[in-house]
Subunit: 109 residues, 2 copies
């Protein structure tokens, strides 16, 4: 039972996810499950199988770092935070995003 709208949304947000993650972590550090919640609250549903590899990729690129922290309720959490390099990347993505928004506006005019 495949919903076309889901497919459209899924395709369209490809590549924007990394931007979302960096934007979230630019404000405060967070662990995967809390990032999922924040994305969900912002109306962008993402599943674990998408998020974890993405976080690992960004960490390997030096855009993120992490530390372990014990939790009072459950297993330890891996808190990610953005690096200086990550902030640089984020600034580039801000520019790229603006450009895309303007491109769409141009084409829709």
């Amino acid at each position: 039972m495949e919903n076309i709208s889901d497919n459209v949304r899924s395709q369209m947000r490809k590549g924007v996810l990394e931007y979302c993650i960096l934007s979230i972590l630019d404000r405060k550090e967070a662990y995967a499950s809390s990032i999922l919640e924040e994305l969900k609250a912002a109306n962008m549903i993402v599943v674990e199988g998408t998020l974890y590899p993405l976080l690992i990729r960004e960490k390997n690129q030096g855009l993120l770092s992490y530390r372990w922290e014990e939790s009072t309720q459950g297993p330890p959490r891996k808190y990610y935070c953005i690096t200086e390099k990550g902030r640089g990347q984020l600034r580039e993505m801000d520019a790229a995003w603006q450009e895309i928004v303007e491109t769409i506006n141009t084409l829709k005019k």
Copy 2:
């Protein structure tokens, strides 16, 4: 010689391209080379190897149709135009795009 900014842009516009193509063809029919020019004018550089498979995919999905037309200067051109189904998809993409823009705004606030 790989430019990081190019990579960022390339990743970010994944999935948005189909939206751009449908938006362009919603206004008037066009052939591949003219679509490439229009995208370039709107600041979204795309290459042939990306565009042709995309047009074929959309045609196979019934979103587009085409007709051949002789050209006064060069080989015949394949003019694509959007179908009723394509317009339906475009309306869904309009909604999806608005949603993504709002998501980014929420996360950047």
